[in-house]
Amino acid sequence: MAIKFNYILINTLFVLGLSFTSCDDMLRPNQIGVQTVDATFTDFSGSLAAVNGLYGVMNNGNWFSSSLLQIDQASDDVTNGSILIAAYSAIDYFELVEDNSISYNLWDGFYKIIYRANVIIERVPQVKFPTLSSKNSAGLLFENQFLGEAYFMRAFSYYNMVRLFGDVPLHLNEIIATSEINIPRSSATLVYTAIISDLEKAGDLLPPTYSNTGKGNEKGRVTKWAAKSLLADVYLTLQQYDKAKLLALEVIQKSNRKLVPNYSDLFAKGIEGKENSDESLSYGAKS
């Protein structure tokens, strides 16, 4: 009896032991509370959240409302206040060092948008959206809208960077490993080529308006007209006036948007967000 018991016990322990020690899955435990990049781009809501993340940089106080504005320190319109901030003075006196916090924040912010856009551009086409949620309020494919938003935001970032700094590193693909980060600067001409290409695609892919009904259709997203206007701006900068004129005309004639008669009304209390929307290309309220 005792022997039999021992035998059973030992065998049980062996089997238990082996079953415990042989499961390699243990080393890939559930990633609780963590979302991987791969897992994000598997469905509609993940892709949408990633596209929303493109705009997220703009909420960053250091970046959008401070650093971008501080560029004006270089002009004669703005000057350092009573509390002298060295980083601002450096811009004012054109003594920009590499770790100036303003230029650092600009690089950081724009390249964050660029990286996020690159990830979206590479990964969204592989996501299979369910038919029910595949179209936006304009009746167009969400997949195209997402790509259009990414192309627009990437172009927008490079357009600001190239105007501020001239030649800049041109990342157009998702960075996978840290070894891929550092690349030489590309010539401004190449950067502009990329910007124009992106904005042309955005102009084709983006919907003209948003209904503000449901996720992904919020007003405030960039539209087809935003892309075309920005492209017109790019051509103006490049002194290609004919192309600029053509695009601007298209926006004026087809976009159903108009300028606010009184410029200061854009900022008046109570008007902002209502009347402003007539002019705003991204906040376009009239549909």
Binding site: M26, L27, A49, N52, R116, T178, G220
Partner: protein, 1173 residues
């Protein structure tokens, strides 16, 4: 007489086997096997080898004395399946040795016993009885007693009792036991002989725990040092880590928080990593279960608000939850050869703890109890109210801001003031500490048990601080059959502590003692806690508060803060394992175990609302964090052990899987209008609610081979393969090999001539270990939150924030060790020395990357290299032996810590230290970690040697400030050294200062780590008395004295020594160490407050008396011992703060060597009692 079998066994035998062995000895089977046949082939070997072989084949044991065998030359025999009796006859023929068999034991002698036995016993012979005990009065079971010269022998029973008959007059009885020194007693008229057997001076037969097995100490090839239960029991200790202090070379114990239950950092051979938390702590393995070091609190960054230094400062050393009375032995695996069997967790050494198991024999019940009183080690006198008035008056005068606010009046009329409040006396107290531990231990050859319960309460020397621990343990062993054994090791402990803040800005910290004005009373006239402003009365009850200036006296009322805040930590630990062991073959054993370790904690803090004087705090606040760690371990282990002639081979092969799950839930709440309503449900507003779970796992395979040739050449090799869920795919499994060799030179024939050296062993080892204490999921490309706003609505967004890094892996530690063990005159003097060199590479550090990455400017990577090198030396001597016995143990160690590489990081600065003025030119940090210097080396500005004596001189001094800093210096200030950083003549060498004091003027001035440290233990014993002292010391480290900084800042109070040493502007040519007291006292991060923290400390002195057994037998006790012990009686140090061992930032190693008013250790006197019955 010795027992051959044990002497010859070497490696891989567990304590269990020893127990079994004695079991078989005591319960001698009266029925010898009928046909005992043996097969033996030896050629020119000692006769012992034949006996060993017979014992192995038949189970029959031999008794003999060394003297008997010393006369026998080497023998050559060939027996093939011959009956044992015939074999013995043949041996007798060849060697003239005679054998006498009683049951399963055969005694060996030079005379023919059969004939002697034939003679009728003469009436002169008697029967002698007695009890054999060890030094601590515990009965020695299974000791052998023989009459010298003849082979008449017996064995003591489970009570240590023996009876031996046929003892002729004037015979000499020899009493012996493994590991104890044999005693010879000449028989005169007495019929009773009680003997105390002392331990061998160095236990060559001592068995030490190594990972997954045990080994004879003499066969070790790695560096392992330990303490055993006797050391632990000698000292009434609250926590096990205290027992290690000053005892083990290469192991430094840093008590970063002297509060009861306070955190202890254990550094084995220096610090390997720049990371904080438990990363630099050794792995603790209790009865084979690697236990978690509060990982949940680390993973989630939990801790109390106001307590800096991370989770490890919260008093969470795994050792603090263990009842010291339960510990049988504790070993520290230091070098890679010893620790590599624990692979990816062994980089900082391994601490193996083995708890007591049941011993065969009568059930023994032990009661250990102590009671003690603790007090502050050092009193730092502060200024009294009269001096304070003088101080404030001067402060205003010197600053040129004299107000008509009464100080001038008070300074001129000091008799109006009394002493005022002595805050030191209000905050420190004499605190009791007590402990009761009860244990029962016993069993028979089928069932063994050791159970215990322990209650310990230690009040802190600071009011309202305490630690309380309740623990129980059940260790059971069931010997189901000669082949199968199973059992459990289970313990439960509950620890409850209350601490104080140590963050100076939370105002409960002891730093407040150097700030609080003596003019501020603790209580107002109504008996409530006083605040400011307050009405001040003189001795005659007259109101002498003059003007409004008094309203600014003092900061918070520290007594009120400490008494009314709560910083409770409740920790519950359940540690349990179930194992079964099966002997498949005589040389092959299989062990399977399943263990769990649960650690549940509740960290509760409460900040009351209050009104003190005109000050009010309208909001009360409660917060609670409840981390839980659960980890289970399944382990399968095969142990081989085979001895063939000169070859002795032992090996293990194991597999294990361990899973760690950490949970936590935490929240803060406020809104209650009464301090009585301090529960969560009483609150109206809930904030910071958070929680989560993290999983991690470790899959491991490991093996070890020990090979010993001819007892001279020792080889050990280990290999562990650890797979961790924390590692990237490219490094999912890590291999951790080690190799070591030993040469017992003293066993060589050529060496045997050197009689005075009885042991000389050379050891060398090399191996690789790792530290897997890294964050989970670092290898994955993950998204983080990036919400945005459309219109007026927040819309959730995410953004890729980290690149995939499948190269993330453990921090790797390569260690080389060479050492020797040397024993003189039968180990009267024994020496162990080691040199080691460790290199840790792949340090995880935040490394800067270009922001064009799109994920920000930094990424965590395996970069960085840190070196640790050092010598360890230990010498143990027996100066006197005999009735008066004096032994010493001395050890000293050096460790040199150096950062070799930080990847692309130029340096890492330590944490900011408060009250160092924040200038635009300098940071507020003191420590910097940079290549070529130790981790957290001190990098500060140098203060000028001489004080400024004139305004003209002051005007020439470079200043450390721009905005908000010091706008001018004045006589009585010190200036700072403007280092030559400007190259004015263009020769490439800086030759001139830049005219301002800034971070460029910092220089390296020392290290937070000592050049050397160690301890000296002296033990004297005479009859039942024993006296033991332990001195510990360290030399060469520096410590930042923030309490002195605050004192000399003159904010609210001053140390009297600072006050008396202050600069007197009316006597400008007298140099003083304390500069002029004025507004905006310039305090850049200079060497002014860095002090030498070398010390020698009398850590404890213990006097014990063991009541003689004759007396206590009458009151039916086995054992009664009383002792008195004094701890931390005196300290020689130049450090002017409370405690040179302070280390406020605890496990944050890049900010080591900072005292921001750390809770000092106490001195104490303790009375104790051990009773056995």
């Amino acid at each position: 007489m010795i027992f051959l079998q044990i002497k010859r066994k070497s490696i891989g035998y567990t304590l269990f086997l020893i127990v079994l062995f004695f079991t078989s000895l005591i319960s001698i089977n009266a029925q010898p096997k009928k046909t005992e046949k043996v097969t033996i082939k030896v050629k020119d070997r000692p006769i012992e080898n034949v006996f060993v072989e017979i014992t192995r084949q038949t189970g029959v044991k031999f008794f003999y004395s060394n003297a008997t065998l010393s006369k026998i030359k080497h023998v050559t025999f060939t027996f093939s399946n011959i009956a044992l009796s015939d074999v013995l006859d043949q041996i007798t023929k060849k060697t003239n040795l005679y054998f006498n068999r009683i049951d399963n034991t055969i005694s060996v002698s030079l005379e023919k016993i059969v004939e002697e036995r034939a003679i009728e016993p003469t009436p002169k012979t008697r029967t002698i009885t007695g009890i054999i005990t060890d030094e601590s009065g515990v009965p020695v079971i299974g000791a052998s007693i023989v009459v010298k010269g003849i082979s008449n022998g017996t064995i003591s029973d489970s009570n240590g009792y023996y009876s031996i008959s046929n003892v002729a007059p004037s015979s000499v009885l020899t009493f012996s036991y493994i590991g104890l020194r044999s005693e010879n007693v000449k028989i005169a008229a007495q019929n009773q002989v009680n003997v105390t057997l002392c331990e061998l001076s160095i236990e060559l037969s001592e068995i030490v725990a190594i990972g997954y097995g045990t080994m004879l100490k003499r066969d070790l090839t790695g560096s392992i040092a330990g303490i055993n239960y006797k050391d632990i029991r000698l000292m009434p200790i609250v926590s096990v880590d205290q027992a290690l202090q000053g005892k083990i070379p290469g192991v430094q114990i840093v008590q970063s928080n002297g509060a009861p239950g306070g955190a202890v950092q254990v550094h084995v051979r220096g610090i390997n990593s720049t990371s904080g938390g438990g990363v630099n702590q050794p792995l603790y393995v209790v009865d084979g279960i690697p236990i978690v070091f509060n990982e949940t609190e680390q993973n989630f960054g939990l801790g109390f608000e106001g307590i800096s230094g991370g989770a490890a400062s919260n008093g969470s050393s795994p050792l603090s939850t263990i009842n010291p009375n339960d510990i049988e032995s504790l070993e520290v695996l230091k070098d890679a050869s010893a620790s590599a069997i624990y692979g990816a967790r062994a980089a900082n050494g391994v601490i193996l703890i083995t708890t007591k198991t049941g011993k065969i024999g009568k059930t023994k019940i032990n009661l250990d109890s102590y009671y003690g009183l603790q007090n502050i080690m050092k009193n730092i006198p502060l200024t009294n109210a009269r001096e304070r008035a003088q101080l404030v008056f001067e402060h205003r005068r010197n600053a040129g801001t004299r107000f008509a606010e009464g100080y001038e009046f008070l300074a001129a009329n000091p008799y109006l003031l009394e002493e005022g409040t002595n805050w030191v006396n209000e905050v420190f107290r004499t605190a009791p500490t007590k402990n009761v531990a009860l244990s029962a231990n016993g069993g028979n050859d089928k069932f063994l048990f050791a159970v215990s319960a322990d209650y310990q309460k230690q009040d802190g020397i600071v009011i309202n601080t305490y630690s309380e621990r309740l623990s129980t343990r059940v260790n059971l062993d069931v010997i189901a059959s000669p082949k199968l054994k199973f059992g459990t090791r289970s313990s439960f402990s509950f620890q409850k502590t209350n601490q104080i803040d140590n963050d100076e800005f939370n105002q409960g910290s002891l730093l407040g003692l150097s700030v609080l004005s003596p003019l501020l009373p603790v209580y107002d006239s109504q008996g409530n806690f006083a605040g400011t402003p307050f009405i001040m009365y003189n001795g005659s009850g007259q109101n002498i508060s003059v003007g409004s200036g008094l309203a600014s006296e003092g900061f918070g009322n520290i007594v009120a803060n400490i008494l009314s805040k709560k910083r409770n930590a409740n920790r519950y630990r359940i540690n349990s394992s179930l194992f079964a062991e099966y002997k498949i073959l005589a040389w092959l054993k299989f062990k399977s175990s399943f263990s769990t370790d649960y650690l549940f904690s509740d960290l509760f803090s409460f900040d009351p609302l209050w009104t003190r004087g005109a000050q009010t705090e309208p909001n009360m606040k409660v917060s609670q964090n409840s981390p839980k760690s659960i980890n289970w371990l399944a382990e399968q282990l095969l142990t081989f052990s085979k001895k063939m002639k000169k070859h002795d081979l032992n090996a293990i092969l194991g597999f294990s899987a361990q899973q760690f799950t950490d949970f936590y839930f935490g929240a803060q709440a406020n809104g209650s209008t009464s301090n009585a309503l301090d529960q969560f449900w009483n609150q109206t507003n809930y904030t910071n609610i958070s929680g989560g779970q993290v999983n991690a796992a470790l899959l491991s395979q490991y093996g070890r081979v020990n090979y010993i040739y001819n007892d001279k050449y020792l080889l050990t090799s280990t290999l562990r393969r650890d797979g961790s869920s924390r590692f990237g795919t490219n490094y999912k499994y890590g291999f951790f090999p080690s190799f070591s060799g030993g040469w017992r030179i003293s066993q060589e024939n050529f060496f045997k001539k050197i009689k005075f050296i009885n042991n000389l062993k050379l050891r060398v080892s090399y191996g690789v270990t790792g530290s897997q204490n890294i964050d989970n999921f670092l290898y994955m490309a993950t998204m983080s939150s990036a919400n945005t706003v459309f219109g007026n609505t927040i819309v959730p967004g995410v953004a890729p924030s980290r690149f995939e890094n499948e190269d993330i892996h453990w921090e790797q530690n390569k260690q080389f060790d060479v050492g020797f063990d040397l024993g003189f005159w039968n180990n009267r003097i024994s020496i162990t020395a080691d040199y080691y060199a460790k290199r840790t590479d792949g340090l995880l550090a935040t490394s800067p990357i270009s922001v064009i990455s799109g994920v920000g400017g930094s990424v965590i990577r395996n970069i960085g290299i840190v070196d640790n090198k050092g010598f360890e030396f230990a010498i143990n001597t027996v100066i006197f032996e005999g009735k008066f016995r004096w032994t010493t143990e001395f050890n000293i160690s050096t460790n040199q810590n150096k950062v070799v590489n930080l990847g692309s990081l130029p340096y890492i600065n330590g944490a900011s230290i408060g009250r160092i003025n924040a200038y635009t030119n300098t940071g507020q940090w003191i420590n910097r970690t940079e290549v070529g210097h130790p981790i957290g080396g001190f990098y500060v500005i140098l203060q000028n040697e001489k004080q400024i004596t004139s305004w003209e001189e002051a005007a020439t001094m470079p200043l450390p400030g721009g905005m908000g800093g010091v706008s001018f210096l004045m006589p009585g200030d010190y200036g700072w050294v403007d280092q030559k950083t400007v190259d004015s003549d263009g020769d490439g060498n800086p030759d001139k200062g830049d005219g301002k004091i800034d971070d460029n003027d910092r220089v390296w001035v020392g290290s937070p780590f000592p050049d050397f440290f160690g301890g000296l233990t002296n033990t004297f014993s005479y009859k039942g008395f024993s006296l033991s002292t332990l001195l510990s010391f360290q030399y060469g480290n520096k410590l930042w004295n923030q309490p002195r900084l605050v004192s000399e800042f003159g904010e609210g109070n001053m140390w009297r020594s600072s006050f008396e040493n202050r600069y007197d502007p009316t006597n400008p040519n007298v140099q003083t160490s304390v500069p002029i007291i004025r507004t905006n006292n310039p305090l850049p991060p200079s060497n002014r407050f860095l002090e030498d923290a070398s010390y020698i400390r009398l850590r404890n002195i213990t006097l014990a008396y063991e009541i003689p057994i004759k007396i206590i037998e009458k009151i039916k006790l086995d054992r009664l011992k009383v002792y008195v012990q004094a701890n931390n009686l005196f300290t020689l140090t130049k450090y002017t703060g409370w405690d040179p061992e302070a280390n406020s930032f605890g496990s944050n190693v890049i900010t080591n060597g900072i005292d921001i008013g750390a809770y000092p250790q106490a001195k104490s006197i303790v009375f104790g009692l051990n009773i056995g019955f």
